[in-house]
Amino acid sequence: MEENTRLTLSEASMEDIKHLVSDRAIQGETVLLNMGPQHPSTHGVLRLLLELDGEEVVNCVPDVGFLHTGIEKNMEAKTYMKALTMTDRLDYLNNLGNNLTYSIAIEKLTGLDVPPRAQAIRVILAEFQRIASHLIFLATTGLDVNATSVWMYCFRERELILDIFEMCSGQRMMTSFIRPGGIWRDVPVEFEDAVRSFIKIFPSRIDEYEALLTNNPIFIDRTVDIGVLTPEDALNWGVTGPMLRASGVDYDLRKTNPYMGYEQYDFEVPTRSEGDTFARYIVRMDEMRQATRIIEQALDKLPYGPVRSNNRKYVPPPRSELGTSMEALIHHFKLWTEGFSPPKGSVYAATESPRGELGVYLESDGGPKPYRVHFRTPSFTNLQVLPLLSRGHLVADIVMLIGTVDIVLGDVDR
């Protein structure tokens, strides 16, 4: 490995990057600074090449790929059910959302039905995942502005949510709980009490965070008018999610293309018009409140019934049937060894993840393994806007901008 480190270290010479930096850098007027893959504020392994004129940023070039895992190619070698466990690890702050989008794509491809109880539980868990992801956004934003108590408080709430996930599925983060046809198994009896106690205390906790940050003059100085994104730029660069809604475009996939029964729940989509960092922060805080509303409504309306589809060609039977029914045993065997084979064709299914539009393009050739699966991840598209946002700002603002775009490097590099 010793020789390899010297040879493969991707050091670019001036010739390679001449077309990326302005002429002033080549003359020596501006400084090229590397904000390397290991940095406390880059939220993962992101490398930025900054071109600085004193303290002001002239250009910033992101260099991604330090977490490339080859998930898409690896999924082509596994059956559909085994590939589901790999989707957890893509956007590792939105595990259940990734499972959900992949399951919706398979259900669209095969024409599977999902029973109403499973739909309601999927909605509850997806909204919990949204709250957990926004809590990490708040924690890291607070940490970058040096408001460390916000970080501690957010992780305290996140532990409550992770306890709920562990109660359902046994795992705190990589649950693989949402599967094609429904969910893995029914939620235990303690679920309802735990969720209700969380909903009772959470709105007051959001008020606590707002009391610490929203009217704080230091926070306002660091976020208002930083990184303004106009709506035309946002649409042209393909930005989705809270970044788009903070710039004034009211578009949320849960309202326009409802999936999993979102049309029955009454919630608002927060929008602001300024398009700066402060607006994005307010949009995400309001989304946490709306998510609590959705969870409460879904829990009140939770119907009784099965949690998995009855279509035994695609969904394995519950284990209790295996002792009595021969067909159940044969289906179980075939599904867990060979896997199911959807019809030939291609679909695109999209859901609203906490970062934006998460889409799965799934193409099948009639075999048990996915022929081509591509994840249209929101962070990959949203990160392209960073050079545009950072022109003219100071180096300290770059830290806030990376936090406000809310990228997860597992999403960008896949």
Binding site: M1, N4, T5, R6, T8, L9, S10, G36, P37, Q38, H39, P40, G44, V45, G65, F66, L67, H68, T69, G70, I71, K73, N74, T85, M86, R89, Y92, L93, I136, A139, W151, M152, F155, R156, R158, E159, L162, R172, M173, M174, L409, G410, D413
Partner: protein, 160 residues
């Protein structure tokens, strides 16, 4: 051994130099921030209020390798990241230890393909491996305490 029992009236303790050196190294070991992927989130959870790691001496995570003793490699190491990892390890001053946290850092995890280095021990020498995907914060704390037991058994000439 010596330190807890032999506190005399004059406040004099007698023990071996090796013991004191190892004891002081474990009581304030500062980790370097090297969170790569999902395991980094569990490392952050372990640092936060519920599973507090600062009671084990790891009060803060230093970003600079020159000021840290311990590197917790948390997450999957891709082939593009491996030279960066080695360079950072070389920049850490001795004595230094490495904990490989999670399945992907220990053995490649569930990924067996062209893009991931199968086990970070091909890049840096590892002292403690922690299993799990991702390991619970309690597993991380258990791994840290195992490292402390390993440090107690070291000799002065190891790092001299």
């Amino acid at each position: 051994m010596g330190i807890e029992q032999k506190v005399g009236d004059m406040g004099v303790v007698t023990t071996s130099l090796e013991h004191v050196v190892n004891w002081s190294r474990t009581r304030a070991m500062w980790p370097m921030l090297f969170g790569l992927a999902c395991c980094a989130i569990e490392m952050m959870s372990a640092q936060a209020a519920n599973y507090d790691m600062s009671r084990f001496g790891m009060e803060l995570m230093r970003a600079s390798p020159r000021q840290s003793d311990l590197m917790i490699v948390a997450g999957r190491v891709s082939k593009k990241m491996a030279p960066v990892l080695r360079r950072l390890y070389d920049q850490m001053p001795a004595p230094k230890w490495v904990i490989s946290m999670g399945d992907c850092a220990s053995c490649g995890g569930i990924f067996n393909n062209y893009a991931i280095v199968p086990g970070v021990d091909e890049v840096v020498p590892v002292d403690v491996y922690i299993a799990g995907c991702p390991p619970r914060p309690e597993s991380l704390i258990h791994g840290v305490v195992t490292l402390y037991e390993k440090v107690y058994g070291e000799k002065i000439t190891d790092w001299a």
